[in-house]
């Protein structure tokens, strides 16, 4: 998005695709993770926000949930759950971290943790369809009011998915606001400090709205 151009509000919808890859043991999970596509890694970390999932899950990513529910390995589940995907600009780095955690657990274990046949891990990737909502925002002060009406898909696209697009690791709101003036420094810092991982999209929308309103008020 070019600086100072109106902010084009987009929305997105996700559709899941089974890759057919499965794992029944922790070693199989490690092996599949070496070769599976990065879009699979992305889906199992972030896809939960846009698909049928309870808003308050015990663990945020699918690997941790599987370790807990199917391998019954709480220590591994806790370690995997703590991997925060926003810490990694590149999915390959996230993959490496995931594999390292699993290998560490395999080294510690006297046997390879395994799941019942009916509780295998199924690898899933996704396609995201992005569409224009026709809403345009001219000035940053309009954002807090409009945010409340944005769909969860819009929040996902601009605040989470944006980090996968150039410039990597930054959300669209921060990127756009930063193009206006130095006056918005405090706001962009506050936005960048929001952790989008341990939450759901509705709560994230509220948090964004609160941070923006507060900073705009302080300015105005």
């Amino acid at each position: 998005m070019k600086m100072r151009e109106p902010f084009a509000v987009k929305d997105c919808a996700l559709i899941a695709i089974a890759t057919g890859e499965q794992a029944q043991t922790l070693r199989e999970l490690r092996d599949r993770l070496e070769t599976t596509s990065t879009s699979c890694i992305y889906y199992h970390f972030w896809g939960g926000l846009l698909r049928a999932r309870f808003d308050d899950p015990e663990y945020q990513n699918d690997f941790a949930v599987w370790a807990y529910r199917s391998l019954h390995d709480k220590a591994l589940a806790e370690r995997l759950a703590l991997i925060n995907p926003t810490d990694y600009h590149y999915l390959e780095d996230l993959r490496r971290e995931l594999i390292d955690s699993i290998e560490e657990r395999l080294d510690e274990s006297e046997y390879v943790p395994w799941a019942k046949s009916s509780q295998r891990f199924h690898f899933v990737r996704s396609q995201i369809v992005v569409f224009d909502t026709d809403t345009r925002i001219e000035k940053p002060y309009e954002l807090p009011g409009l945010l409340q009406h944005m769909s969860p898909g819009t929040i996902f696209y601009h605040f989470i998915d944006a980090r996968r697009r150039p410039p990597f690791g930054r959300d669209d709101f921060t990127e756009w606001i930063a193009g206006f003036s130095q006056n918005y420094h405090a706001l962009t810092d506050a936005l960048e400090s929001i952790d989008p991982y341990f939450t759901n999209l509705i709560e994230l929308r509220e948090e964004l709205s609160l941070v923006m309103s507060k900073n705009m008020l302080m300015k105005g």
Partner: protein, 413 residues
């Protein structure tokens, strides 16, 4: 077509959800989409198509619905397919298979024009699967939608059907556990319920009050209900066992409501066992209801305190979704799609034994505030994830996606 169908749904799911459908559908305006299945009424597929087609039309898509025709021999063969795909090891003789193919060839000739010109064709379940080989000069994308639990198919039968299915451009499965390897994208779309259908619409209080006397139930005492076919995998005898364990502490009533079992010899046997196990206990109500008695099922779920679905094996478990939509917590078997819906300690409890179910029933009856809270969470969870509007959104997303092959991110102009 019902006017303002989308507005009716907006009242339930919110304008924001309907706006998103409209924006997505803009990229599909005027597109010719044909759905094909084997029955116009009865069964979940027909139920969902009755609603999806007018909704797609209201969104500007030229959607139509075709139904193939067959004789008794054809349906005998497809019934065998259905059983085998769900794991029964039954052999199907060659002449039945040839008749199945021939019936599809005749239907293919009849539907040729509409199918050939369509931009997207959705073929539902195995019955019309061979239509694709009877339409060689098709111009659109063909997608096979599997509504069946195919997690443990009888391999020889799946191998036979796979030869047709692999010709499609994509397939759709309800859960990743059901998806079989094929040389095309395997999309995942869980099923949904329709909040405006007879099974799920709100019922006036006076009709609910009348229901107690209709079914001989006491409104003053708790009612625990399982709605399902009389099938061994639904464990109705285990449910009676749970009821007896609870009955020592709480004066509860049990309702086991399900369809008749006239065409299913095993179902009759299970029903016999259920009746024998129930004995002459006046608080166990075994209700045999016709499969289309949706309103009564709806009423029974609404006058119940807790819904059970103590299956030992389950596809998706739409009766779980229906129970949750009525604001009731569900105690469900820890299997299949139940796991996707029953979030332990939040929307209900997952259990593995009759003892586990009894324990959770007693807990909820003792803590009525928790029962009410979990019921509310269950309804909210269905509202956000398992209504037909979500199903439609995923269909629309898929339709855009298949037009753009297999790239990860699609931004249509």
């Amino acid at each position: 077509m019902m006017p303002n169908l989308l507005e009716q749904y907006a009242k339930i799911v919110g304008e924001e959800v309907i706006d998103q459908l409209r924006q997505l559908a803009r990229h599909l305006h005027g597109m010719k989409v044909v759905h094909v299945n084997s029955t116009k009424s009865g069964g979940g597929v027909a139920e969902i198509l009755h609603r999806l087609i007018p909704l797609k039309q209201e969104l500007g898509i030229d959607a139509t619905w075709e139904v193939i025709e067959g004789d008794d021999e054809f349906y005998q063969c497809t019934k065998l397919f259905h059983n085998c795909l769900q794991g029964n090891r039954l052999d199907i003789n060659e002449s039945l298979l040839r008749h199945f193919e021939h019936t599809n060839k005749i239907n293919g000739e009849k539907l040729m024009e509409s199918l050939r010109e369509a931009d997207i064709v959705f073929i539902h379940d195995p019955q019309p699967a061979p239509l694709i080989v009877n339409c060689p000069d098709r111009k659109g994308r063909w997608i096979w939608r599997c509504h069946i639990d195919l997690s443990h198919p009888y391999r020889p039968v799946w191998k036979y059907l796979k030869d047709f299915v692999k010709e499609y451009d994509a397939s759709i499965w309800s859960l990743s556990e059901f998806a079989q390897m094929l040389p095309h994208p395997l999309y995942l779309i869980p099923p949904s319920i329709d909040p405006l259908s007879k099974k799920n619409i709100d019922i006036p209080e006076k009709d609910l009050e009348k229901a107690y006397s209709t079914w001989g139930l006491d409104p003053q005492r708790p009612i625990i209900t399982q709605v399902s076919r009389f099938d061994r995998f639904k464990d109705p005898v285990g449910v009676i066992h749970s009821y007896r364990l609870v009955k020592e502490f709480n004066s509860i009533q049990l309702v086991l409501a399900g369809g008749g079992a006239t065409d299913d010899p095993e179902g009759e046997e299970v029903l016999r066992q259920v009746r024998a196990s129930a004995g002459d206990d006046p608080d166990i109500h075994v209700l045999l209801l016709p499969p289309d008695d949706h309103l009564n099922i709806n009423i029974i779920q609404r006058i119940s305190d807790i819904i059970l679905q103590k299956s030992t094996r389950e596809g998706f478990g739409l009766t779980v979704t229906e129970g949750m939509w009525k604001g009731r917590p569900v105690i469900g078997g820890d299997t299949g799609g139940i796991r996707l819906q029953v979030i332990n300690h939040h929307t209900g409890f997952l259990v593995n034994t009759p003892e586990g179910a009894a324990l959770r029933i007693r807990y909820l009856l003792k803590h009525r505030d928790r029962l009410a809270e979990m019921g509310q969470k269950a309804r909210q969870f269905v509202l956000e994830n398992f209504l037909i509007t979500r199903h439609l959104r995923e269909y629309l997303t898929l339709m855009v996606a298949v037009m753009y092959e297999t790239v990860d991110r699609i931004e249509p102009e």
